[in-house]
């Protein structure tokens, strides 16, 4: 058996730190290669496992590997054989698969609900494994230190054989995704369509689980059986923040898996007694948090920006409408012949009274709108609507009033309710709806209908609202 290539680096000096991070050691490079391959495999596979909602099965299987590892250790010790890693992994594979089958048996034969079945298998197999470990420790000359690496992960103990194993599993996963990615996609999205088209659903599901077992087994050394599930689920879940497309999600997930494994391996090599499994999970978690914050599609920061932009756009609509109504009240609406001129001046204080806005907010909005060529700022706290602003205002006033009439006539809304409801709903009027509304209301497509309520800038429109229209 090959010696571990890279003994536990537990020196905390800057020198050793840089040795690790600059990859001066051949050993570090080999171990790094192994864990990165593992990260890619787990990242790819995790996407399908996540979309097929089978994450917890993966967890149950990985915990179920422990009794197999311990039994294989006992068996090799009692027969005096070489304690080769191959036997341990073989034992792990058998008992992991047994765990998966037990879940299915409990579910379909004993009719126990899936979450309960998973809980039972996970804890019972793990309990059995821990008991067997205690026997291993009592063996003369037997020490379980090698086995503890399987629980928490000890990447440093990886040999070049293990790296080959990682490579083989990564290649297996990669080719499966490349060859039957289409089949896996339909399995995960719509199992009923897959069945009706005649795809062997059971075979595809089994293939998925078999690959999970394979990744778990080769991941035992680097990440350990308790935490291997994190490497399957976290990169996939993080990738979802970045993209809405499966192909991209696979690539991003593989990348995040690879980076987490690399960072975790190096950290655990540089920091005394930090198990690599824990370090890898923490690195993955950091990437998850970063994705959650700044992920392009679902990241919370982008969502806030989008909401903020939407809010501002709605404020623009309201301000333009208020300006239009002030002009209308003062009877100085621009006529068709004024097409290329700006409107008459509008007093900012009148705008403030139109809505429940502060003067500061109106000034700020006016500035932003001036930058977008919707208004120009005049002298003495006045603004003028630009031709572009006039057209937009016309559109929003029309939408608002069409909605008001609609609510009053179709939904028997009181005029005050209609105003308030239209104030909200007008932002949801996509062009098709707006055109449909105009057509059904028999109104002019360009000129807005009269307002159903009295427009009295400064007088409070709502209190003086009349039913006449």
């Amino acid at each position: 058996m090959a010696e571990p290539l890279f003994a536990n680096v537990c020196l905390a000096t800057m020198d050793s730190f840089w040795r690790v991070f600059l990859l001066r050691d051949y050993n570090t490079r080999v171990v790094l290669l192994g864990t990165v391959l593992l990260g890619i495999a787990a990242g790819l596979l995790g996407v399908y496992l996540l979309l097929r909602r089978r994450i917890l099965i993966g967890d149950a299987i990985s915990h179920a590997t422990l009794p197999g590892v311990a039994l294989a250790f006992l068996w090799t010790a009692s027969t005096g054989q070489d304690k080769s890693l191959g036997w341990l992994l073989f034992g792990a594979a058998i008992s992991g698969a047994l765990g998966g089958i037990t879940v299915l048996g409990l579910r379909h034969i004993a009719k126990i609900r899936e979450d309960a079945a998973l809980g039972i298998v996970l804890s019972v197999f793990f309990g059995a494994g821990v008991s067997l470990l205690s026997i291993v420790q009592q063996l003369p000359g037997g020490n379980s230190s090698g086995l503890e690496g399987f629980i928490y992960g000890k990447a440093a103990a990886m040999t070049s054989e293990d790296v080959w194993l990682c490579g083989i599993v990564a290649a297996l996963v990669f080719f499966t995704v490349a060859l039957v990615g289409k089949e896996m996609r339909i399995l995960c999205f719509d199992i009923e369509l897959a069945r009706s088209q005649g795809w062997p659903v059971l075979f595809l599901d089994s293939l998925l689980i078999a690959l999970v077992v394979a990744v778990t087994i080769v991941g035992l050394q680097a990440v350990g059986l308790i935490l291997i599930i994190a490497l399957l689920v976290i990169p996939a879940a993080s990738a979802r923040f970045w993209t809405h497309e499966l192909t991209w999600m696979l690539m991003i997930s593989a990348l995040i898996g690879a980076i987490s494994c690399a960072a975790g391996t190096l950290l655990s090599a540089a920091i005394v007694k930090l198990p690599s499994g824990a370090a890898i999970v923490l690195a993955a978690c950091a990437l998850f948090l970063a994705s959650f914050a700044v992920g392009r599609q679902r990241g919370v920061i982008w969502r806030i920006v989008r909401i903020w932009e939407l809010q501002r756009e709605q404020d623009f609509h309201h301000l333009l409408r208020a300006a239009y109504e002030v002009l209308e009240f003062d009877a100085c609406l621009p006529s068709i012949s004024d097409e290329f001129k700006s409107s008459a001046p509008i007093d900012i204080y009148k705008l403030v009274q139109q809505r429940t806005w502060t003067l500061a907010k109106v000034r700020r909005l006016v500035k932003q709108m001036a930058a977008r060529n919707l208004v120009v700022i005049g002298s003495n706290s006045t603004i003028h609507l630009t031709p572009r602003g006039i057209l937009k205002a016309l559109e929003f006033v029309r939408d608002h009033r069409l909605l008001e009439h609609y609510m009053m006539e179709e939904a028997a809304a009181h005029v005050v309710e209609a105003d308030r409801e239209a104030d909200y709903l007008e932002h949801g009027l996509i062009p098709e709806l707006s055109a449909g509304l105009s057509a059904s209301r028999m109104r002019d497509l360009v000129n807005p209908p009269p307002s159903p309520h009295v427009l009295a800038p400064g007088g409070g429109t709502e209190s003086e609202a009349s039913e006449s229209n």
């Binding site: 996609r185 369509l193 005649g198 499966l246």
Partner: protein
């Protein structure tokens, strides 16, 4: 690679003479509780069929047993005179909209492309030809402009249109639709009806699980009334009668339901 959908494929000529769907004495049970009893019916070519009945009448089960998704206890189903597995390519099944996760990372176009997977068979990917078909199907459903939209950002009606576009690319001769009108807006409902009429003009057969009794006579020209047993099947004008509806919805078959339930309870199995 032979096409997955029609393993030794039936030729169109063979198909021409046979009824699109023939069901003979079919009984289906979930956990020993029968949900369909001795159903026999024959659907003529080019019909637009409404499959109507109360909740739990076995309407969805009937469609599923046609596409071999639920095992039958007894009876036979033949599609264009063949067992289903020989004519998969001739059949497009549209599941209920809620059966899938609409948060899945896919665009509307991706979902429609899945319709072509059966014809493609193992390992082959969708190419330009499939893409063109898919875009064409989206255009027919009037949602071509949403092709690249993430499916979670589609309205309920748009999701249903996507599902129907997916069925269209399968270029089938028999369409089985499970509640396509459930919770869709009025314009989508109109679009679906127009689509079904157009398919019917092309001599395709469409079977639709439907709930709204008011629209049954205007939408469908053939009706299957089902309440665990077949109540009646035939042209709408003959079958859609007060008496038949009374039989379907009158609840006279409660004994059947209760005895079936007792069977299930007797062996202590659990509903799942």
């Amino acid at each position: 690679m032979s096409s997955l959908q029609n393993q030794p494929s039936a030729s169109p000529a063979e198909i021409a003479g046979c009824a699109p769907l023939m069901v003979r004495d079919v009984t289906v049970a979930y956990h020993r509780k029968p949900v369909l009893w001795n159903v026999s019916l024959e659907i003529p070519t080019g019909s637009l069929v409404g499959l109507v009945g109360p909740n739990g009448a076995g309407k969805s089960t009937l469609l599923k047993t046609v596409v071999d998704m639920v095992p039958r206890i007894s009876g036979e189903v033949s599609v264009f005179g063949e067992p289903y597995k020989r004519v998969r390519g001739q059949v497009a099944y549209v599941p209920q909209r809620e059966t899938v996760d609409w948060d899945f990372p896919a665009t509307a176009l991706d979902v429609v492309l899945m319709g072509t997977y059966g014809q493609l068979g193992w390992f082959r990917r969708a190419g330009q030809a499939e893409r063109k078909l898919a875009v064409e199907a989206l255009r027919k459903m009037e949602i071509e402009h949403l092709a690249t939209r993430q499916i979670s950002q589609l309205s309920g009606g748009q999701q249903q249109r996507t599902f129907l576009a997916r069925a269209l690319v399968q270029q089938a001769n028999l369409y089985l639709m499970d509640e396509p009108f459930a919770a869709v807006d009025a314009s989508t409902e109109r679009a679906i009806v127009m689509l079904m009429r157009e398919l019917q003009k092309q001599k395709k057969t469409i079977i639709v699980v439907h709930h709204d009794l008011h629209t049954v006579p205007t939408y469908f020209d053939f009706i299957v009334l089902l309440n665990m047993r077949l109540v009646a099947a035939g042209p709408t004008t003959e079958v859609f009668t007060e008496g038949n509806l009374q039989k379907t919805y009158g609840g006279k078959l409660t004994l059947l339901e209760e005895a079936g339930e007792a069977m299930r309870l007797r062996d202590g199995s659990v509903k799942s």
